[in-house]
Point group: C2
Chain length 149, copies 2
Amino acid sequence: MPSALPKLAKTAEVSGFILERTAKRMKQFFHAQLTLATADITIDQWIVLQALESGGAQSQFEIARQTFKDAPTVTRILDLLEQKQLISREDDPNDRRRYNVRLTAQGHQKMQDMLPVIKNARQQAWRGLDDDEMATLVRLLDKVYDNLK
Amino acid sequence: MPSALPKLAKTAEVSGFILERTAKRMKQFFHAQLTLATADITIDQWIVLQALESGGAQSQFEIARQTFKDAPTVTRILDLLEQKQLISREDDPNDRRRYNVRLTAQGHQKMQDMLPVIKNARQQAWRGLDDDEMATLVRLLDKVYDNLK
DNA sequence: TGTTAATGATTGTTATACTAACTATATTTG
DNA sequence: CAAATATAGTTAGTATAACAATCATTAACA
């Protein structure tokens, strides 16, 4: 029965594709929902705001680590968020290379306003997946992630 | 027992993040492997080449559909591949809006040369996942994908 | 048949991502 | 302490991606 091996290889061939395809669509979907709600922020900007809310004021290095974005990307996203007055950069008194980045009041407000949009998008994305399936998906994705460290 | 609901919500909160994180790292990893092998192509360029090899000569619209990229993105990737002489655009005699895009001999050669690199990268990515787990992962990702159509 | 609509491809704009190089500041170490 | 190194952040260049607008060509249909 020579079909087992080819089938496995075939699955491996398409899985990366399916992974990327799904991640791409999810990003696109969340972005579209934010646009529909006239959020005036992108999903990546949202991710940075979220890191700041959950982690409090922090350096750009910390934000990069938390969000899995690299330093130049964080710089530019913060530039945009600063223009929109959703975050502020303050000099770190202990280390003059660093900034302490924090949400402004407007930044907090933006998160309040957009949280329902994000929650609703999450519900749609994971519709039909039960608790076990969610856990399995996360476990398998983490396994792949660890494989590529 | 008020912990069940919050836990589910928490999982949904991080899953999108884990999905994007894994997809990003996979892309990064494949790209790094190609760079290491001095492939002189990116992973997205590889994906387009692969579509051309498996599907034969085809229009840019078909390439876009196969690769889940949009038309402008395909245009620009093909521009780069054409510069590198890995693909060629020929006028479609039946429809003057279209090109027939095909791999050149050099394009075929590039694929021959890089296939082992890609196969090796796939092996690393899916290491430790058995047949069932691969199938489950694909099934769950497809479910999410369908949710967002 | 002639106007309208749809399609294939391109161009422009904005945003994210990676690499590399650069500035400024901190840390290590000889 | 001084020189070498490391770290935080920025800037520049290239690639990918989404979206909108545009252009040429083809298809639909009144």
